[in-house]
């Protein structure tokens, strides 16, 4: 008897439609031409894009963008953990203070906050002073020299990110079973040991995925600092465009770089998540690389019986 598998006609239709779209996309990206100012040239001007991809101002802009992302995320995570612990504290004052912080920084747009750090601080406080509250001053700074545009950008992004990270960390801490802190307490662990050794490592499983999203989001949000005169990746491409009038190719330069870095982060996030999933999934699924290696090993001529491949997957996972 022959077995007739179920047919999926709509799958075929959908595939054909998608293939047509892909063909159109490839065509318009690579092969179509257009006449601009009497000159016939490639629609997307890949040559121009390629030319500006690695020019020094763009590379310097990338440096600033990455620096801002790293600074804002590290500061954000530190502020977030601190605020999350404060919010979960039995002290009303501590949890209230954390609540007010989160309320304020989540309740105003980050663009407005950036302008506040850039313009507001120097306007409200011409001098910043380190000293005894209501008492003598030890050191005094001029606000305009202390808070450069880069510092204003870093401060704005960090304080804003702290508010979001606080909620993410808090959700992670709450997700850990109460029995864990009881068991840790019964062994005589202090609150700090409990948090660092028992609660946070387990909370990580809940904290990591949204933090990865936050990091990817932050990389793109840094482009807002171009509005307060920081020369980041976006501002660098914009200023080239303003002199060469090749606006669209330079937008593509910026986009390609942003895409590259978000892709790298996505891969990184995948492996970090795997690391913190240890102990929660009995057997982790193989990574794409491991699957590729298995597939390569399996291809040679004779097909391997299903049972044997199954065990080989197990061994791979166990390593």
């Amino acid at each position: 008897m022959t077995i007739v598998p179920v047919r999926h006609p709509w799958r075929w239709v959908a595939s054909v439609v998608i293939l047509i779209f892909v063909a159109m996309l490839v065509n318009t990206l690579l092969f179509s031409h257009v006449v601009r100012g009497g000159v016939r040239e490639g629609r997307f001007q890949w040559g121009v894009v390629g030319h500006y991809l690695f020019v020094t101002p763009v590379l310097r802009g990338i440096e600033v963008t990455l620096e801002l992302t790293v600074i804002a995320m590290i500061a954000g995570v530190v502020i977030g953990i601190l605020l999350a612990v404060m919010r979960l504290s039995p002290s009303r004052l501590l949890s209230g203070a954390a609540w007010v912080y989160i309320w304020f920084f989540r309740g105003t747009p980050v663009l407005v906050q950036l302008f506040f750090w850039y313009l507001g601080i120097a306007y409200l406080y011409q001098h910043l002073t380190l000293g005894v509250p209501f008492g003598p001053a030890l050191v005094t700074f001029n606000s305009n020299t202390l808070i450069t545009t880069f510092v204003a950008g870093a401060l704005g992004l960090s304080f804003n990110e702290g508010a979001y990270m606080a909620e993410i960390v808090r959700a992670g801490i709450i997700s850990v079973d109460e029995g864990q802190s009881e068991a840790a307490a019964s062994l005589g662990m202090s609150k700090r040991q409990m948090l660092r050794r028992i609660i946070l490592p387990q909370a990580m499983r809940v904290i990591i995925p949204p933090t990865g999203n936050e990091t990817i989001s932050m990389l793109k949000t840094t482009s807002l600092v171009s509005t307060i005169a920081v020369v980041d990746l976006f501002q660098a491409t914009q200023s080239i465009a303003s002199t060469t009038y090749q606006v669209v190719p330079l937008l593509m330069v910026a986009s390609l770089w942003y895409l590259l870095f978000t892709s790298i982060m996505t891969i990184g996030q995948y492996y970090v998540e795997r690391y913190y999933a240890r102990g929660s999934a009995r057997q982790l699924p193989p990574t794409p690389l491991q699957r590729l290696r298995q597939a390569l090993r399996r291809t040679p001529s004779t097909p391997v019986p299903a049972l044997v491949t199954d065990t080989s997957i197990h061994h791979e996972g166990a390593m």
Partner: protein, 259 residues
């Protein structure tokens, strides 16, 4: 005036009260547990057995009465006629001397079995990692899990997890072990292994307070059985007497339901 340390009871409770808001959970518990004694706490759920157990290592704060472990007040220091609440650090030091085993095991899932057992000695006592590991391997062998050293908790059965939890508590060399329904979350065929480990421990002279529904264990291993209901001790005494010939009607009706 001072009683010699080795004849002093391990746990002494006098009129212990505990309330959550308006709900009174413990309404004056008197209990004495001698050194090397195995005391089994039985009673219906909600009777306050677990709460009382948790008061002993200060996981819960008592609202009234007096609770002493090894001759020292739980959670307070008596100076003159004042009670000073203990600092967090002092509470931790006291807890480190009392082992506790939970109904739902509460092993640390992100750590291997070996790391679970060494966590107390290494982090709390700051013991050398090598020596702690050797000790942990011995303890795991004692509970029959020598081959599970590098496993993670969720790769083990419930019974195995609970035995790891016992080894983890023993790694701190406790002077008192508290068991909070240690076999209630286990499949019936896994209960025996855990009870065997507890029986060995009792035979070695460990002071134990066991909240349990295992009447066979209470009768065989227990030195004392205490029946609690509604936040008070209804009756206590020799386990065989309490479990087979109870004096109180409440005890009798409870036993009729569980046996």
């Amino acid at each position: 005036m001072t009683v010699p340390a080795d004849t002093r009871p391990m746990v002494e409770a006098r009129g212990v009260h505990k309330a959550y808001g308006r709900l009174e959970v413990l309404k004056g518990i008197d209990m004495t547990v001698g050194r090397g004694e195995v005391l089994c706490l039985i009673g219906p759920s909600g009777s306050g057995k677990s709460t009382f157990l948790r008061c002993i290592n200060h996981l819960e704060k008592i609202d009234g009465g007096e609770l002493c472990v090894d001759g020292e007040l739980v959670g307070y220091r008596e100076v003159g006629n004042r009670l000073y609440e203990l600092k967090d650090r002092e509470v931790c030091a006291k807890r480190a001397e009392i082992g506790m085993v939970f109904q739902r095991f509460n092993l640390f899932p992100h750590m291997s079995v070996l790391d679970n057992v060494t966590s107390g000695p290494v982090w709390v006592r700051r013991a050398a990692s090598g020596a702690s590991k050797d000790r942990a391997r011995d303890l795991l062998a004692r509970v029959g899990l020598a081959d599970k050293v590098s496993s993670y908790p969720n790769q083990l059965s419930g019974g195995q997890q609970q035995r790891v939890a016992i080894a983890r508590a023993l790694a701190m060399d406790p002077k008192l072990m508290l068991f909070d329904e240690p076999t209630s979350a286990l499949d019936p065929e896994l209960v025996g292994d855990v009870l065997d480990v507890m029986r060995d421990l009792a035979n070695e002279g460990m002071t134990m307070i066991v909240v349990t529904h295992e009447m066979g264990f209470a009768r065989e291993v227990g030195d004392t059985a205490v029946f609690m209901d509604g936040g008070v001790v209804i009756e206590q005494g020799d386990p065989t007497q309490v479990l087979t010939d109870p004096k109180h009607e409440r005890t009798r009706s409870f036993l009729a339901k569980v046996l």
